[in-house]
């Protein structure tokens, strides 16, 4: 049984007068201890998907359809109480801008203890402190952080605290939503390497959400490329990011500098995201695609299978067609 099985998930933001389709028929499968990267530019729906998995979408302005099956339970439509039992124990997260992931007017330890007591209501202060010290050791922080205020920490330290928090109950799945984006590249590199080691040690699966392809390359075995709410390509990282098939993935990779090989000028992708409040009958990338043909604008491409896990949603790719 898969750890996480996302089937035909649609997430809509209900705005006044029009609906915005932020996730359009998303399918993702993850096994235990898998590491999956979700890449895409801002507005591609990747963070919305993460919030959907975590059950944190604002209910009054969003609606979600489909199935998110986590450890055999469908998370969509799960009652608040049942969800609360899963939260943090099985499913935890590290959020964007780690500097803001702690309340500025409470000590780090106090906040850790408050989260610990959500699931261990009878834990004493000294038990909480012990738990905190253990977690800090795992992420390479000194125990004095427990009595510090968040503003007394550096960006890298705050990030490590956020990661330590997510490991608290040895969850089966951790979602890292742009977790290292705010850090400088050196700290980012260090933390990413540590994350890979931690993940193996703690035997947990992770979803890394980022717009930075190199983050996925260093931390994830599998990758999903999202564009305008749809998955355009997915598969093993060393295949998809080395020989990308979808024109969007190709464009995305050309927007990053390569360390090795020929010196090439960087190219972005001309154009911008389509208006997601309009229904797009064809391929979402067609208006910006350099190879688009008539059919791309009229018909939605289904996934082409290239090998066991590699899927590409593009008419121009040869392979077995599969729904």
């Amino acid at each position: 049984m898969a750890l996480l099985d996302i089937r035909n998930v649609n997430i809509v933001y209900k705005m006044e007068g029009h609906d915005i389709l932020a996730c359009d028929d998303v399918n993702i499968t993850m096994e235990t201890q898998d590491s999956l990267g979700i890449v895409g530019e801002s507005g591609s729906g990747k963070s919305t998907l993460a919030m959907g998995i975590l059950g944190l979408l604002p209910t009054n302005i969003t609606s979600i359809a489909g199935e998110i099956i986590f450890k055999g339970t469908n998370l969509i439509g799960l009652s608040r109480e049942d969800y609360a039992k899963l939260r943090w124990k099985e499913l935890s997260a590290v959020f964007q801008k780690s500097m803001n992931s702690l309340s500025p007017v409470h000590k780090v330890g106090k906040q850790m203890a408050a989260i610990y007591r959500v699931h261990m209501p009878s834990a004493s202060d000294s038990e909480c402190r012990k738990m905190g010290y253990n977690l800090f050791e795992k992420v390479g922080l000194s125990s004095r952080v427990y009595d510090a205020y968040p503003h007394e920490l550096s960006g890298g330290m705050a990030q490590r605290v956020a990661i330590a928090l997510s490991l608290m109950f040895h969850p089966a799945l951790v979602i890292l939503d742009e977790a290292t984006t705010a850090l400088d590249v050196i700290t980012e590199g260090q933390i990413l390497r540590e994350l890979v080691t931690l993940q193996e040690k703690e035997k947990m699966a992770s979803i890394v959400i980022t717009h930075n392809v190199s983050v996925v390359a260093t931390t994830c075995k599998k990758v999903v490329v999202m564009y305008a709410g749809r998955i355009v390509e997915s598969g093993w990282t060393d295949q998809v990011l080395v020989t990308p098939k979808h024109p969007y993935t190709q464009g995305l990779l050309k927007s990053f500098p390569a360390f090795h090989g020929e010196r090439q000028s960087l190219r972005g992708i001309p154009g911008s995201l389509p208006d997601l409040s309009m229904r797009i009958p064809g391929c979402v990338f067609a208006p910006r695609c350099p190879h688009a043909v008539d059919r791309c604008h009229k018909e939605r491409p289904s996934d082409i299978l290239l090998g066991e896990h590699w899927r590409v949603a593009c008419f121009l790719v040869e392979g077995d067609e599969k729904q």
């Binding site: 309340s103 007017v105 409470h106 906040q111």
Partner: protein
């Protein structure tokens, strides 16, 4: 923390001395002088004018006057009001309590009502209640205070006769004991309602905005993701973070409590500081003016220091200097 407080006390002291000096100069530079008012318009007698000038020390150089004034203040002597023929200290003393009673009760009520409404509105954002209070808050915020006071008197005092139109006590009845307390409360109601209506919007909007801002922070999302229930998140983490701007506004309005609300006091004929000040200005009563301004600057400085200390206690980032 001690260093933090000391620094503020010293700055506060400098501010008070400076404001005393500026007031002293401004009052004397302003057109008009008390001697012509005291001597009378009809038949100014040069002998009398000279006598008055030397009696009040106005013939001395202005710097000497300032020196005398400073040393008097240091001894707690604010001079003598020529208009009321009594010491300034006593005059201010009589007025301070009525003013404080009115403005302080209004400030507390406005704080409680405004923040409660703000919290409720933020938690039910975009609900009908939120929209109602948000729009009405602009109306009361933009309303001139004296006009609202007049309207309240017209409606509740003149027409409905629920409240007295003016004053702090019923002069004719001469109540004592509890009857006196009730009488004061009865007279207090309308001016306090007026001040509360004028001040609630500020607390409402500040609290609402602060709560909404805190609720959108990443750490609140993290607490939600951890399975903590909304009530606990709100009580433990949202409140303390959202409290800071409200504390600042309340602290500063506390200083305003001693200054009184001149126009409201005049409309309701309330025997407070604001009226004392306006009377002193029109009659060029220098010693009363200087005394009142001195008290104001003291109160403002104390309130600012108090706000700084309370904020520092609430927010560790402010303690860092």
């Amino acid at each position: 923390m001690t260093k933090y407080v000391m620094k503020r006390l010293i700055i506060g002291l400098i501010a008070v001395v400076l404001s005393v000096a500026i007031n002293f100069v401004l009052i004397r530079v302003a057109p008009g002088d008390p001697i012509t008012i005291m001597a009378g318009m009809d038949n100014p007698n040069q002998e009398m004018i000279d006598h008055l000038i030397s009696k009040y020390g106005l013939d001395k150089p202005i710097l000497t006057q300032f020196g005398i004034y400073l040393s008097n203040i240091a001894r707690g002597d604010f001079g003598y009001s020529y208009r009321n023929n009594q010491p300034v200290m006593g005059l201010i003393g009589q007025r301070l309590f009525p003013t404080f009673l009115m403005t302080f009760s209004a400030a507390i009520l406005a704080l409680v009502i405004g923040s409660a409404l703000g919290l409720a509105a933020a938690r039910t954002r975009d609900s009908r209640m939120d929209r109602f209070f948000s729009s009405i808050s602009y109306i009361f915020d933009a309303m001139p205070g004296f006009w609202l006071a007049l309207m309240l008197i017209l409606l509740f005092a003149s027409r409905l006769k629920w409240f007295p139109t003016m004053g702090m006590i019923n002069m004719r009845a001469g109540y004592t004991g509890w009857a006196h307390v009730l009488d004061v409360l009865y007279h207090l109601a309308l001016p306090v309602i007026c001040l509360v209506l004028l001040n609630v919007p500020r607390y409402f909007r500040i609290t609402r905005a602060a709560v909404l801002q805190v609720m959108s922070e990443d750490y609140i999302t993290l607490f939600r993701a951890s399975g903590m229930n909304e009530k606990q998140i709100f009580r433990k983490f949202v409140l303390k973070n959202a409290l800071l701007p409200t504390v600042t506004i309340f602290g500063l309005s506390l200083a305003g409590c001693f200054m009184g609300a001149s126009l409201i006091e005049i409309v309701f004929a309330w025997p407070g500081m604001g009226r004392l000040l306006l009377d002193a200005i029109t009659k060029r009563d220098y010693s009363v003016l200087s005394g009142v301004y001195f008290i104001f600057s003291m109160m403002l400085v104390s309130a600012t220091i108090l706000v700084d200390v309370v904020c520092a206690a609430l927010d560790p980032r402010i303690r860092l200097e």
